[in-house]
Structure formats: structure tokens, C-alpha cells
């Protein structure tokens, strides 16, 4: 069974068609890319997956179970984590707190026990802090641990956002343009992290990216969207040679 399956998905905004009849499947353990021109509906698709938008039609199955109509926090519990196209960090918290928020679904303390901060709550905080420190190590952001994220450089913010998604221990990680606005060096770092996450942590990754260098080099499979509908699906090599894709998206190589 595929880990994630999207069936005949359509999404309209009062007349504007964002997605129409999209169907695709993501296999467990793969890195799957979605590419397409601007406004093709990639981010909208992610929003449907994480429950921010409710699709007009169609179905989304995670491990065979439909997640249509579920609130975002429920979907998060099912193991879907994501990053955003425009960084959506909690700007007034420091890095540790941002990552700890990622642990929200794995923690239990409520308002009463939280007010006292002894016993179980304390133990829980410390335990999750350990987990967070692991991720911080993994992403090499030890230096900025206690800084407010708002004041961090763009590249580091993107990395923190990635970290926040990782602390959720997801099954599927949705990355929306992780390399946008990055220089070469940072893009390389991100590419490396994506591969590591996939290989070492075994997390399935769904990736939206305009940097064809990254996409073609690291992903296993690509789905191409245009005007909300799917135009192609296949391995990087196939996609690169697909005339439809070249015409709508890649452009002629000069």
C-alpha cells in the first residue's frame, strides 16, 4: 500500500480553480517532488494535505485512511509535518521553543499541571528537550539555540523550520520550496539534509521546489502540475525529456 494516495482531488476558491482532478501516490521511503509553473497549485495541494484547505472533491488517503475533513491538528497527529513557502516560524520564540512546539503532539501536560511545573510535567519537559537537542545536533544549529528566530538569517530560519517539522517525528514530511532564496552553499546543505532525513531517519518526503538542480539530483519520482491538473508523472530522467513539461515549465535549454 502506498503511504500517501491522492485521488481525483479538486479545489476551487469561489470560481478560481486551484486544483482539478489530481491523482498521485507517494511510496514509503521515497523522495517525491512536485513541480510546476507558478500558480499551478502546488502549495494548495500541500494545504489540502495538511488540512488548511478542505478540497472541493476527491480523497486523500494516508496509509489507507481518508483524512478529508480532519482539522490540521488531527492530521498532524497522523504523522504529516510540513514547512511553508514563506517561513512561518513563531517569531517571538527562541529556537528551542519553536522546536519544542513541534513536540506538542507528543506531550501531555495540561493547564493545571503546567502551572506547577513539578513531577511529571518537569520530567516531560526535560525528556522532550533531549529529543529537541538531538534534532538541533542533526541540523547543526547549536549556535543559535537560544536566539529569537525572528532575528536569524533567512537560511538559518529555513533550517529551523525544517527542524520544527522534524521534531514532530512525522511519517511524511512536506517541504515547500526549501531551497528558495538560498545561495549555492546553503542549497547544498539543504539537499544534504533532505537526503539524510530520508535515509537516516527513514522519513518519506514530498518536495516542492523550483531549483531543478536539486530536484533532478535527489528525488526518486516527480509529479508535474500545471493549471491545477497533473500533466506528467515519472522519474527525473523521464520528466526532463517530456516535451509538455519543457514547454510549460522548464523551457528550452540554451
Amino acid at each position: 500500500m502506498d503511504l500517501l494516495e491522492i485521488r481525483q482531488l479538486s479545489l476551487n476558491f469561489s470560481g478560481i480553480v486551484a486544483l482539478s482532478d489530481v491523482h498521485m501516490a507517494v511510496k514509503k521511503g521515497q523522495i517525491h517532488a512536485i513541480i510546476g509553473p507558478n500558480g499551478a497549485g502546488k502549495t494548495s495541494l500541500f494545504n489540502c494535505l495538511s488540512g488548511v484547505y478542505v478540497p472541493t472533491e476527491g480523497d486523500i488517503l494516508v496509509e489507507g485512511k481518508s483524512i478529508i475533513g480532519l482539522k490540521p491538528h488531527k492530521i498532524a497527529k497522523l504523522g504529516i509535518a510540513r514547512t511553508f513557502q514563506n517561513i512561518e516560524l513563531f517569531a517571538n520564540m527562541n529556537v528551542i521553543d519553536n522546536l519544542l512546539l513541534g513536540r506538542h503532539i507528543h506531550m501531555k501536560s495540561g493547564p493545571f499541571s503546567g502551572s506547577f511545573f513539578i513531577g511529571k510535567t518537569l520530567r516531560e519537559e526535560v525528556k522532550n528537550r533531549l529529543k529537541v537537542e538531538e534534532i538541533i545536533d542533526f541540523l547543526e544549529i547549536e549556535k543559535v539555540r537560544k536566539q529569537l528566530v525572528g532575528s536569524l538569517p533567512y537560511g538559518i530560519q529555513k533550517r529551523v523550520e525544517l527542524g520544527r517539522a522534524l521534531t514532530m517525528n512525522p511519517k511524511i514530511l512536506l517541504l515547500d520550496e526549501p531551497a528558495a532564496g538560498m545561495n549555492l552553499e546553503e542549497t547544498e546543505d539543504i539537499a544534504r539534509f533532505v537526503l539524510d532525513i530520508n535515509e537516516e531517519l527513514g522519513i518519506t518526503i514530498l518536495l516542492v521546489e523550483h531549483d531543478m538542480g536539486v530536484v533532478m539530483d535527489i528525488v526518486d519520482e516527480i509529479t508535474v502540475l500545471d493549471f491545477g491538473s497533473q500533466v506528467a508523472n515519472g522519474s527525473p530522467r523521464e520528466i526532463q525529456a517530456n516535451p509538455k513539461v519543457i514547454e510549460a515549465y522548464l523551457g528550452q535549454e540554451e
Binding site: 482539522k71 491538528h73 498532524a76 513563531f90 521553543d97 512546539l101 503546567g114 516531560e124
Partner: protein, 350 residues
Amino acid sequence: MAIRSKTFSESYHEDIKLFRTIWLKSWIGLFLVVLAVLPLIGDPYIVYLINLSCIATIAALGLNILTGFTGQISLGHAAFFAIGAYATAIISNRFQVPFWVCLPASGVLAACAGIFVGIPCLRLKGLYLAMATMSFGVVVEYVVITWDNVTKGVRGISVPTLSIFGYPLDSNNKIYYFLIVLTALAILSAANLMRTRVGRAFIAIRDRDIAASVMGVNLTQYKVMAFAISSFYAGIAGGLYAYVMEYIHPEHFTFLLSVQYLAMIIIGGLGSVLGSVFGAVFITIIPEFIKAFAQFLTLLFPALQDKYDDGWNIAAFGLLIMLFLIFEPKGLSGIWNRIKTCFKNWPYTY
């Protein structure tokens, strides 16, 4: 490996402690001692002002949790405060029950009211929410005035003296200690709450609610919870107010009081526990300071004596709020943080 994780856990535990340095601990100790002996050396006027500040602090903490931390603007805080005050007054009058029943009951009743307002207001944001909560305040005022066979309406209702296990706290100075302890508890628990899971969820909702929900925060649940906690604080503060004043009247809980609480948390610092304390004390005490200063001026220049218009006191208060925010838009907690970093890095300036 085992050893390593042990030390780690210890260091993280250290890391998240509230009072970390010995300096901080001793300063707080000193402050507590000063508070403890104050009624012995100061006059009842000062003690009374501190009492009022304590009550304001608890209420302001509540509002800061809702508005400062969770980002839900409320202009109806006076209503929850009033509900607490009236609950204490009515319950203790009717059933002659002791404070440890009355106060929690007031808090819980206010919290229920908070939930009652919070749920329909879930979809509202910003000024719309402010106005909706303000409407709730107006309605509560109307109910308190109109439902006079319970609340005694515009005649006001008197409250029995607070007594702890048979020992009546019948003077300012006696109730003072009770208030200080409760306020300290309120501050501590708010500070604790804000650095655990719930508090983080609140801040996340304020900063980016959609992102928070994608991270697994149940927006509905937490927004309503913020309303409940906030109005619980307000309710407790209201109950204490009833005990301190021993007489309450609908006019004590107007829209202006809501604005005053908002002023406290903004001046103190939104989203800062300590800020709420500073703000509450500032707004309560400063007018008296200004008055004292004005009196001092008239002593210096006796010519002023007859001509002095008390309007200047209030004008000065307004001016002070403006100037203060123009120079320190982040509020008193902003100043505080600056002083702290200054101390930390001393003798290096930066």
C-alpha cells in the same frame, strides 16, 4: 551513555529553572523581606495601594495570558472581574461559606463565563474580537444592574469580612499578607504555565495560528482554554476585590476598567509575566505619585495653592502614558530586559 544522558538531563533541568542565579535568588529574597515588614513601617494608605496593586496584578496576569500571550484582544476583562466579585459577594452573603469555597468558586464561575464567550468568538480576530468582548461587558453590566434581587443592582452589595479559619482579616494590613501570598502564587503559576506545553501553544497561536494548527495545536481547544484561564484569574482577582472593598457596586466594573487592564499589560509589556506585574503596579500607583508630587509643588510655590487644578494630575498621567510608550514601546518589561542584559554583561557595555 547512561551517565551522559544523566548529566544532560540535569543540565537541561538547570537550564529551564525560573530562578537560575544565586543573585536573582537573593534579590527576590530581599524583596520578599521588604514586602513582609512593610505593613509594620508604612501607613495603611501605602498598604492599601499595594493591596490594590496585588488585585490588579492578578487580573492583569489573566488578561496578559489571553491578550499578550495568545493574541486574543479582550475589552471585556472587567466583566469577568465583576463576575468574580459578585460571585464572592453573593455566595458569601447567601450561604455564609468561607473564602476557600468562595474564591475558587468565583474563579470557576468566571472561567465558565470565559468559555461561554470564548466559544462563539473563536472565529473573530483583532478589533472584531475586542468589540465582541466589549459587548459582553456591556451585557454583564446590564444584567448586574437589572437583576437586582440577586445582585442588589445599583444599590451595591456589601461583602462579609474575609476570615481565615475563624480569624477575621478585618483590616488592610491583615488582608495584605493574604493578598501577597496569593499574588505570588498567581505570578509563579502563570510563569510556569507559560514555559510549558500550554504556554508555548498560546504563543504559537498568537504568532502564527495556521502554522500552529499544522504543528498539531488544537486551535479551538487552546483559544477557549486561554479564555478560561484568563477569566479564572480575573474571577479570583474580582473575588479578592470584593473582600478588600467589602462593598461592590456596578459602577466599579465599567468599560473603563477593561481599558485600564489593557493599559496595564501594554505598559507593562505584552506577553510578559513580569510585565503584567509592573504594569499593574504602575497604573495603580502612578496617579498617587503624581498627586503627591503636585502637593509637593504647591508646598514649594504656595501661590499655586488656590489656582491648582487637579485636572493637571490626570493630564500628567495621560501624558506620562504617551511619553512612556513613545520612548519605550515594548513597555516596562522592555526596560527591565535592557537592565538585565546590562547587568549580565557588566562591566562590558553592550
